[in-house]
Amino acid sequence: MTAAVVMTPVSAPVADHVLVVALDGALDYTNAERLRQDVEAALGGERHELVLDLSLLSFCDSTGIRILLAVRKLLQERNGAVTLAGLNPRLTRIFTTTGLINGFAVAPGLAEAVDMVVARSTPR
């Protein structure tokens, strides 16, 4: 069976400028470009914070990382960021080995990730 990755919106107590989605499956060369289009469509023109729950993502290759970097760049241009939650050991490995883990905010779980984004976005 060809790898599939499914993007599901997650309801979370966050402001309108934050998009929270969960990825389920395997993000690889065969589906990364389509996912990038889906994520960018879901972000629309206004949202500038993205929280990705990766706890159900079993695999991510360099093509997947490439599209996450493309989304990160888009949100940086909007003064936002990408926050990753729930990386399994294999995902942690590829993100750490490539050094790219430092390009993202990383949280152990979705709740912590949402807290990080809310804290970052709320004027104090």
Partner: protein
């Protein structure tokens, strides 16, 4: 002890290819992060075949003397020996990034080139999980985000 060689065509069904590699490597005795590393590296080699190596090729895996070897061959032969970068390439959109990553993840990576076929060979020692006392075989890891 697994020592028979298995071979599969490289198609866009990378998920099935990863499962085949993982199943073989587990039977050969690889576990934990080193198992993950080999699967990630082999997947990157297969991507390179799909993206730069003419879109078709074969992946063969074998185990000999406690070393799992993955041979990833294309039908183009444009990739020369010595193409594995020692440092992470600046651009992430080229073939060099995947090759660099393979070098980081595996114990060693070589490239054989004959007319019409380049073969990337990935090697992973089954007993390499524990660093040797002298530390001489430990590879340098941990690239930094620039």
């Amino acid at each position: 002890m697994v020592d028979h060689r298995r071979q599969w065509p490289i198609t866009d069904d990378l998920a099935a290819l990863r499962e085949n590699i993982q199943r073989y490597a587990v039977q050969a005795g690889l576990t934990g992060p080193r198992l993950d590393d080999l699967v990630i590296a082999a997947n990157e080699a297969a991507i390179n075949v799909l993206e730069h190596g003419g879109g078709a090729g074969t992946l063969a895996i074998s185990c000999d003397g406690g070393v799992v070897a993955v041979d990833v061959a294309d039908h183009v032969g444009a990739l020369p020996p010595g193409a594995v970068p020692g440092e992470r390439p600046g651009g992430r959109a080229d073939r060099g990034f995947g090759l660099w990553l393979m070098g980081e993840l595996c114990d060693s990576v070589t490239i054989d080139q004959i007319p019409g076929q380049s073969t990337v060979r990935l090697f992973m020692r089954v007993d390499g999980g524990d660093p040797p006392a002298g530390g001489g075989a430990a590879s340098l890891r941990g690239a930094h985000w620039a």
